[in-house]
Symmetry: C2
């Protein structure tokens, strides 16, 4: 079975070795085994698990909560419901973030055309009429 060193995993996941050790310190990687002399030894499944961790992180989940999830995983089938509920919550959270981003995008696009017009006119005064524009 193919295994990986910490720096190989860091490269693969676009993280630093510092970050990976930090995650380990925080209890996010209890599954990673060691060589006889103490070096971390990553399996494919470990990299898969780290990808799930990265996914949770990208939903804005703090590391402490990710640790709770990892702990649930170690506890086995008795925590299936908690884990399911967690992902349902994450889903709602991501949906809300998408909504937020859409609103942000609308404002940004408005500003893009605002500045295009101003730039073409050579002055922002072209937008004097607008109520709350100003910048």
């Amino acid at each position: 079975m193919k295994t990986y060193t910490i720096s190989e995993v860091a490269k693969e996941l676009d993280l630093t070795v510092y970050t990976l050790r930090y995650y380990d310190k925080e209890g996010l990687m209890p599954f990673v085994e060691r060589t006889p002399n103490g070096n971390r030894l990553f399996k494919e499944t470990d990299i898969g698990a780290l990808k799930v961790i990265e996914c949770l992180k990208s939903t804005g989940m703090p590391i402490k909560e990710i640790k709770t999830f990892i702990d649930w995983c170690s506890e086995g089938d008795s925590t299936l419901e908690q884990r399911y509920n967690m992902f349902i919550e994450r889903k709602a959270n991501v949906e809300a973030q998408m909504e937020e981003l859409k609103k942000t995008m609308e404002i940004i696009q408005h500003k893009c055309s605002y500045y295009k017009t101003a730039m073409d006119a050579g002055t922002e005064d072209i937008h004097k009429e607008e109520k709350l524009a100003k910048m």
Copy 2:
């Protein structure tokens, strides 16, 4: 003309007065005037500007870069191009964030059905076959 105190603005924008003072300290609100005894006096346009600041913040822009933008605004028409370019960059950035979120959402949804199946079966072993699942 209607004006607002710092706590009214905080309430309106769902920020704390601490945060607003911090923004001011960082140079994000050079336009806010003061009463004779030194209290901040917010106009409607100031609230509009703060909404733009909040929008930029929600694109992930750090406060120092927002300050650069505010400085450009104070400099007038000579910075129109920089400001336009900045919003174009922000737009690309938000688009990338949306893409990221979509990918995240796909994984989350996969996990939701993974755990639904496992929960119904009473055990995660139902997914034994899967290559990189595990959690």
